[in-house]
Point group: C2
Chain length 353, copies 2
DNA sequence: ATTTATTTCGTGTACGTACACACATATAAA
DNA sequence: TTTATATGTGTGTACGTACACGAAATAAAT
């Protein structure tokens, strides 16, 4: 009886009911030609009637064709090693699903070169992938790209940062607002009433600025929600070289003697650490991301807290979400926010990414 | 070359290297006897060397044996239809995975009868399931049960409520504290300064009380965090019958004329709605759960807000998590908090569970 | 009518694993 | 020495689907 149950669907059963061979059923299932309209309609009707759901495991096993995923992330650059972890996550996911005849084509772009991004998206489309995961750093260009994907029926997921309004399968990354909010919560425990905060938005890249703003919003929201009395001094730094950054910071700090805590809204915090080190006064320093330079500064006591999002996990989940959805046809959460972790000198060694 | 790549692992390759047949390899893989210690060791070494990962798709396809999941949730009782939605979620998950030779055995217990719970857990263990999903309503009994599961190597997931400290695969359910916090946020928009709140914990079942307390904590935390001036009057009601509930409520309200908003920490809110209806004064009423009685009261304007957690989704995810982990061997998030939704008269019809 | 295209369909093999069965060899009992 | 019983190993078929190949049926051309 259980045997029969299973037999009751499947190509064989369809073939039996339609008085044809499974080969013919297979042809209509894949919209291949070589089937007369009459039998095609008949088979289609039976498929509908039985509500046939192909066995995805068997399908993947038997299929000759390789499924291609494309990933598009920044290259690991000198000024931040951030992207090496996501790459590892991608590799880990690939190792896991490669046995199912899935290949992950890895594309990289230069964060400072919009053209390289566009260039890579072109290459990706040329490769006709079955799914795409990208870090949509350049918003307009990402939008143009994912629009094309939508048109071509290629599912895509965003990682690390989101572009709202796009029909992405999923977003996997930090909840920017919340992570700013959390940072402020941390700050509230540390700061005394008469002390104030320096909030630093350091980004050469204009297009990334809205990320920082989200975090800033969250940060300020906490202050408002809890009516904290502390002043927040904010400066935007658009330069790249250390020296001018240091100069700006030193200048602000000398003007605002009540500042005891510096909050950097992104991973550039290690540069700030170096700047603060040269000053006599000891500042509390909070910033983002579990990257080499920052860990080093954390160990040295030059950074007090790092707020992290397991970047490797993010990328891993991104690829696996494609697998879940495309291969296994399983639903995937539209929003997959990564947990927000607080890393200190004491616990960083236990932080597995 | 790609063909070879795939060939390079798999039982066939192992067999080739060990100069045995795949049958023998199969025997060591499954720890079946009938293999000489010498060849067994040899094969084991090769398996390790190749870091052989069985093709799970093929395995499931070929396996004769049915995988059994057991689910344990309350029966749909008269006083709350809450559990019909999770049941539907379970059914939906089952429909999706049943083609992979997976069966879901559904067990139910009476929420008012601890013995029935214990009884069902016994039955479950007798059935030797490959995975279990349960709503751990009775904490001690659940702990005893899941401890046995751990000992037997049976993975389990908690749904709807969590028991901390257990080695569960995952918890899928609401974030109780946050949902209370959110409720308070809602309240803060509604209440004027001189008005106050009535907080109602209605539960006959003592063991469920800590759930309500978590929500209450969250609720109060928001008031503290934002230093809201409004008074919170709280009463615990331990009765079951409507009449005495109504009497208690009426009594408190008559004593506290400044109350304009009633917050019920669970799904029993529809009973409160009926009580409030009889009074002249119009109260704002907020409660929990998308169940029939509550929806009706919502439509009638007797409840203003319902805070929900997509109970069907919860159960669906619970079963699917077992599938992910046990069948596909994919990692599963330890904590899967459901989004907290706010339902009103205006949007309830669009709330798909 | 016969040949030749063309359309339509069936058959066989493969994917990687599970498992029943058959067979061989070795050891024990007759 | 023969028969029985372990013990070890190989072979074949199945799971549900994909796809190449070839056969049959039909249509078009001669």
């Amino acid at each position: 009886m259980p045997k029969k149950d299973r037999q009751l669907s499947g190509v064989k059963e369809i073939a039996r009911r339609a008085n044809v061979s499974i080969g013919t059923v297979d042809r209509v299932l894949h919209n291949r030609n070589g089937v007369s309209p009459k039998t095609r309609d008949k088979i289609k009707a039976i498929i509908k009637e039985l509500n046939y759901q192909p066995n995805l495991l068997a399908r993947r096993l038997a299929s000759k064709k390789v499924i291609h995923f494309a990933t598009l992330i920044p290259t690991v650059s000198k000024d931040t090693s951030f992207w090496s972890l996501p790459l590892q996550g991608i590799l880990r996911a690939e190792a896991e699903i490669q046995q199912y005849n899935i290949k992950v084509d890895k594309y990289f772009f230069d964060q400072d070169d919009k053209a390289s991004f566009v260039n890579q998206t072109r290459k990706i489309l040329k490769g006709k992938p079955d799914g795409v995961m990208l870090s949509p750093d350049f918003i307009d260009e990402s939008t143009a790209f994912t629009n094309k994907c939508s048109k071509l029926g290629i599912p895509f997921v965003f990682m690390d940062s989101d572009v709202e309004g796009q029909k992405s399968l999923s977003y996997i990354g930090p909840h920017l607002f919340d992570s700013g909010y959390l940072a402020a919560n941390l700050v509230s425990y540390i700061l005394r009433e008469n002390e104030s905060v320096l909030l630093l938005n350091i980004s050469q890249r204009m297009y990334k600025h809205h990320h920082l703003l989200r975090k800033e919003e969250g940060f300020r929201a906490y202050f408002t929600d809890n009516s904290l009395p502390n002043k927040i001094t904010k400066i935007d730094i658009r330069k790249g070289e250390k020296l001018s950054i240091e100069r700006e910071i030193t200048s602000v700090l000398s003007r605002n003697k009540d500042i005891r805590l510096v909050f950097v809204t992104n991973s550039r915090v290690s540069i700030v650490a170096q700047a603060l080190k040269k000053l006599k006064k000891k500042y509390i320093l909070i910033g983002y991301d579990f990257i080499e330079e920052n860990i080093k500064a954390l160990v040295d006591g030059d950074i007090d807290f790092l707020i992290c999002q397991k970047p490797g996990e993010q990328a891993y989940k991104g690829v696996m979400s494609l697998y879940q959805n495309i291969v296994l046809n399983a639903p995937v959460d539209r929003m997959q926010f990564m947990p927000i972790d607080i890393i200190t000198k004491e616990n960083y060694q236990f932080y597995k990414n």
